[in-house]
Symmetry: C2
Subunit: 504 residues, 2 copies
């Protein structure tokens, strides 16, 4: 048993190094001055290489091989608890990923990523894809190289998909999207044809940033987010980062003055942040103290954003509060009017502003492009065209600028190819998990209607957060709900909700 402790201490040290990288990243996106970009790239590269060196170094290898055959991945000792066996398998997975990448490559990737994020920011501001293009070309090539290092059976993108969501492949995602594409486009069409107009003219009204900020803080507090172990900042692209369960920070953007957008993104990040704050600090650095997968992480943000924050009971409690914040603009508003406006279905060019019905079609656009970029030799210079084509095909809108189009998301700039499908998976999981919570807490919707969210938070703490990587994503869903992961509950939920809103 002493050895497991040694191994865990070793992993804790590696986790410390990783947390430094996250601080660099957080700072770059919130406060770092522009002129520091070159030096930050050097810092990031150094810390990434250090992290990688630790993960592939003699100390970890020697600790690990006491428990596991490093060639086959088979466990050597069987007297270990299931929990620790599982931990070892996940460490082995991370170790295999790390060992497959040469040290130099890791540094190069981090440095290029840091520069590329900076170029993306500038390109987005200047609305000029060409400022970003050479960086993106570099990142695509590096990620293709990474896929080769990781290895795959069928297609290069599989290696990257599997990294974010173990077991995922191009083929599986493509198949998964068949019914989703079908039922979502049908639903969008029916809504459009219903002819029903929802008034949401009051939604974007240059509401003061300070009030939006205060409101979002109040909502997160009510969800159980602990501001003593985290903080709120402003960034171009909202995100959450956990350095440790005692230091989990999230960002918002309020610039647009649109309530639905700033509220839903705050609640979304709140869901991510509760996951990070809910991880077991005693297991910091090892898989038992880490989030399962990007998909499960997204299930937490989506659950809060959609199943809770976009529900009618939620607004039963919050609309009166909202009126206190923005009295002049919202006087006389009924719950029904607000609820319908908040959930108005309207194609948008911007993924993060998208309604629930179109959201996963945005992901599809990205996934199909990633498929081309990584699995074939599609050239980066043609990205704006293909983006615009696909947007028109799936969403029915064509961006007029790069900022409204291909430059909107940060992900590709730091090389996150294969990440987007996790958003859809997370959305599907979120409905399965929430349905289960409702079964186990029969009064859940009443609690939500009274602004009492802590029971749900605690249920998620117990059933998801505290488990770390004790289960794989699919296993967790099966363990929790008795069912395999599926998009059916999500599609059923959507059709029911929007049939009601749009009288279909």
């Amino acid at each position: 048993m002493a050895n497991i402790t040694e191994l865990k201490n070793n992993l804790r040290e590696i986790g410390l190094v990783d947390s430094m990288n996250r601080i660099l990243n957080w700072d770059q996106q919130t406060y770092m001055p522009d002129g520091a970009a070159e030096f930050r790239a050097e810092q990031s590269s150094y810390m990434s290489r250090l992290f990688h060196r630790k993960l592939t170094g003699d100390t970890l290898r020697n600790n690990l091989k006491k428990f596991i055959d490093l060639e086959t991945g088979n466990l050597k000792k069987n007297e270990l608890s299931t929990r620790n066996q599982r931990m070892l398998q996940e460490v082995y997975r991370d170790y295999r990923h790390a060992i497959s990448l040469p040290q130099d490559f890791v540094g190069k990737l981090a440095e290029a990523g840091s520069r590329s994020v900076q170029a993306w920011k500038k390109a987005k501001e200047a609305d000029d894809f060409n400022l970003f293009r050479p960086h993106l070309e570099k990142m695509v090539n590096l990620e293709k190289q990474k896929a080769e290092y990781f290895g795959y059976e069928d297609k290069p993108l599989d290696a990257l998909l599997d990294f974010y969501e173990p077991g995922m492949t191009t083929k599986k995602v493509t198949e998964l999207f068949v019914p989703v594409k079908e039922r979502l486009t049908t639903l969008a069409e029916r809504i459009k044809e219903s002819g029903k107009e929802i008034d949401d003219s009051f939604m974007c009204n240059s509401y003061p940033e300070s009030k939006q900020r205060k409101l979002s803080r109040e909502m997160l507090k009510t969800m159980g987010y602990d501001f003593d172990r985290g903080r709120q900042d402003v960034s171009a692209h909202p995100f959450t980062v956990g350095f440790h369960p005692t230091d989990t920070r999230f960002t918002n953007r309020f610039a647009e003055g649109c309530l639905a957008s700033s509220i839903s993104s705050a609640v979304h990040e709140g869901g991510h942040a509760l996951y990070e704050q809910g991880l077991n600090p005693d297991e910091f650095g090892n898989p038992l103290g880490e989030a399962i997968s990007y998909g499960i992480h997204e299930s937490q943000s989506r659950l809060w954003e959609n199943m809770v924050g976009a529900s009618r009971p939620y607004w039963q409690y919050w609309l009166p509060k909202l009126k206190e914040y923005f009295s002049d603009d919202l006087e006389g508003m009924t719950l029904g009017e607000w609820y319908r406006a908040y959930n108005k279905v309207e194609p948008s060019l911007i993924r993060v502003d998208s309604d629930e019905v179109h959201y996963n079609l945005h992901i599809l656009v990205r996934f199909e492009i990633e498929d081309r970029l990584i699995n074939s030799n599609f050239e980066v210079k043609h990205l704006p065209e293909i983006w615009n084509e696909k947007m028109e095909h799936y969403i029915g809108l064509k961006p007029e600028t790069d900022t409204q189009g291909v430059l909107q998301d940060i992900h590709w700039s730091w090389g996150q190819f294969g990440y987007f499908p996790s958003y859809s998976l997370g959305t599907f999981y979120s409905v399965q998990i929430f349905n289960q919570a409702k079964e186990e807490i029969p009064e859940l919707m009443d609690l939500i209607a009274r602004g009492e969210l802590i029971r749900l938070k605690e249920w998620l703490n117990e059933n998801v957060h505290k488990l770390g990587r004790r289960f794989k994503a699919g296993e967790l869903i099966k363990e929790l709900t008795g069912n395999e992961p599926s998009s059916d509950p999500f599609l059923d939920y959507l059709e029911e909700k929007y049939s009601q809103i749009y009288d279909l």
Copy 2:
């Protein structure tokens, strides 16, 4: 020559690690949530140990011993440029300091320091020295231990003084303060006896924080501080930290709404920040890209704060601007009224709010206490008493609370004993350096009166900043001015200035 490059690359890597530590420290003082304190202590400890390991590791040692005899410190090769010889001597100095401290001790010190800062913050807020006491006791013991590791000839504090200002000893500082104490107390007495009352009632008037903030930004821009390579934040204790010449950040505090205090501290930090931004980025990580000493660093902040920012010509340009910012409150104010109020001599309990006449007496209080704490067995629990006694003796005021007394400064909380005298040395240097600048730029005071500060900034860039640690502090003063370091020019300047203001 190839080897010097190798050595410099090695030092650059060590500099990267050090920059991570500075980010941790900056974040802790600006944005870190309270609940993260324990984890931050662990991160700081890890990064400090890593820094120390690199500085004492085989790679550096092997590179270094090609050029220098590691036992004696004698240079081996004489065909090196004077610049590189000097660089090597300074690396050796740092190496000797590092090698004398055991790895474990370094981690323990960083961890205790990080916790202690947090405890100091809480104690200051709660106005309760006892919350801080156990931490301070620990820090005193650790610093005593450090002095033993560093070694000294006469007294333990010498080892710490020398670390911040090479060559300084308890004896030298004591001697240095003899004329200073004498002439300052006499000057303070004469001012008091002059009976002249200066009206500064308008100085603290809850001026809006946002305007103070904007004004300080404008002043720093005019000084030549580059906001593209730095930023301004708010912290309890204003400070400047350079991660790199392209990322040099400073903080202010505006809470009191007192103009003189917020302006002088902004200009002060600006002076530090110009030094850091003016360092040679190509020499990052090695002594040629580093500040000479804490005293010389302080000379830069004091030069801007006092010689420039508290001068009459400075306000000839800035008073009209000030009136634009705070029109209602300052209407009708004459330059003479403002200048006298800004320089009003009035004993204060708080060092950073102190006027120029009393400032170095505040340092004396601290130095005499450090002498007792480190050179004898004076007990931390008696600190508030002795503090209050000495304040009454030298300043003529007795603090009624710990916050207004012994808890006011952050320095001891992270173990900076022997640092305070650098403030006085810096003040003395600043007058010598500024007098030289006036000789070399005869129109300097006219430029200042027109708000044209870039010539001075560039002169400092050339004559101080860019040199890195090419000269030791005393050597630089001698090289620049032809004279040895001395407090006489400072005392002459003070007596002249305040004789004029107070009609002595």
